[in-house]
Symmetry: C2
């Protein structure tokens, strides 16, 4: 690709650099899209057609399952196989901070120096437009910038965090020995989202038990006609089982009807959430600027009105206002 | 209170029974409000003025900290002191299920038979209008029905779960020994929401260390002028420290300016989220019914259009439509 003629902060040149696979441009575009800088949507449109070829893998599981270490190992093996890798670490342990932890970055340090791997961590809070949406945008930018595989690591607790992995093509559920209760807890609905099960820390006592637990749980659900997901053992710290796992990840094919169903839901979810954000941002702005919101808050605190009546009145005032959706 | 003349499924009589403190009516109203049955908003309006006197206590902390056991112990002690207690258990361990776990209910069994305690568990997913909103409605119904104290138990991971405790008057953070990393993880922002710290399982080794960790973290933040929250030790399984804890909960007074700030944010959050739900439900219904949504999904999957352009077009079509907000 030719070097763009004007290198400035404009979206056009930034997009060109992203499409040319430049790392700093990718980082910068992610930040600007996350911040919803004016023009972000046109920029996302511009890279859209270049996206769609990367495989997005969601890595989830309970806190302490070793997801970060495993993500590092997987990334290293992928690089060895010649793949370009993007990692999105959705920080699960600091839901309060609005920022990401140094700890995660340190654990990731091992692969920080590999230029084939691009790592981006995201706070779980304060993402404009919601967490799953932000993660999807980041993955799309990495994808358009030439990454072959994108790993999204997130904890398997919390609705928003689960929404994140639902946007992946393939979901790995990481379990560890001694988590009988944990498996029980996941039992009822995890089948819907997990394509591959990993027993990490498989050198610890109890690995066979947890494998049996998962096996019997999967056998039960296979009666409904779904294919039985593979269950693999790894030890991220000892680098055991990583090659098999990566080979499985690369060759895994989701059944066509399941894949179609997933894609449809993903598209629907994306359209609706983009829309919801646009509409709501514009309503919120208007209520803030007009002082209607602070009035309403005052009335509610002073117990002059209940929140339900307040909302009915505010909606009546908004009703049919043409300027409402000028984002 | 007089017995209402007509006892049927209408909201009017149900509301009357709720206000009279009838347990079955309370359970029924919660279900109907959760299901957003037509008329739910008027019913919530009708009980609103009877609510506001209960103290809502959020109990949060990492998985495995013993929050459920602690909640049981606190409830028992409160009952001994003559308080009527409501418990809202937001099930943290089964984010996938859309339902709650038998396990939690079993742990709660100890106090199930006490008629002064009303327990309601909520799934973390699929709540119409969002989790924090649903929890707030349930708390308000319990409050209007005469409960003095409402305990909301939820895991301290995940944005939605944190929103839940932010709606409480008072937040207890439950920690356990051997969680040095956990404390570090919470460090940066937990001060904003935790009013009281509990070290549960305080008979285990490491209790003093975690107490020291919390102490030094709190000392750091006290420099910003906030009062230092109390730190208490308990052992829920051995019923140690429960009386002191409950005494602290009952007498704890949040500083006035912090309390005002909290109330204002809670009111604002409630108004905005109620509004967002109303608006979005009506947009969503329209897009589903008109077939616009399924068309858009098709175009996106076939890569004929990007989601950003699709949303812009859909918004243009919706713009200024007066019927938009007829909920």
């Amino acid at each position: 690709m030719e070097k763009p003629k004007t290198v400035n902060n404009s979206w056009n040149s930034l997009v060109a650099w992203v499409l040319a696979g430049k790392v700093r441009a990718m980082a910068r575009m992610i930040t600007r899209v996350e911040d919803r800088e004016p023009g972000w949507k046109d920029a996302m449109k511009a890279i859209y057609s270049a996206s769609g070829s990367a495989k997005v893998i969601g890595i989830t599981g309970p806190p302490g399952a070793g997801k970060s270490s495993l993500t590092c190992e997987i990334a290293q093996e992928l690089v060895r196989l010649g793949q370009k890798v993007g990692i999105i670490a959705v920080d699960p342990t600091s839901p309060f901070t609005g920022g990401s932890l140094l700890g995660d970055r340190l654990r990731m340090k091992k692969i920080f120096t590999t230029k084939e791997v691009f790592i981006r961590s995201m706070a779980t809070r304060g993402m404009l437009g919601g967490l799953s949406h932000a993660a999807r945008d980041v993955a799309r930018i990495m994808d358009a910038s030439g990454k072959d595989i994108i790993l999204i690591e997130t904890v398997g607790v919390g609705q928003d965090e689960i929404e994140v992995v639902k946007a992946a093509d393939l979901v790995m559920m990481v379990c560890i020995p001694g988590q009988g209760d944990g498996i029980q807890a996941l039992k009822a609905g995890v089948m819907e989202i997990a394509d591959i099960f990993i027993i990490n820390k498989a050198d610890l006592p109890g690995a066979d038990e947890v494998m049996a637990d998962i096996g019997s749980m999967l056998a039960l659900s296979s009666e409904t006609g779904h294919p039985i997901p593979p269950v693999l053992k790894t030890s991220a710290l000892k680098s055991h089982g990583i090659r098999d796992l990566v080979a499985t990840l690369l060759t895994y094919q989701t059944e066509k009807n399941i894949q179609d169903f997933k894609r449809e839901n993903q598209a629907k979810e994306e359209i609706l959430s983009l829309m919801e954000n646009e509409v709501f941002r514009s309503i919120h702005n208007r209520l803030e600027q007009s002082g209607e919101l602070s009035n309403a808050v005052r009335q509610m605190i002073d117990k002059k009105k209940d929140p339900y009546s307040i909302v009915t009145e505010l909606l009546q005032q908004l009703d049919g206002k043409a300027y409402l959706f000028k984002a």
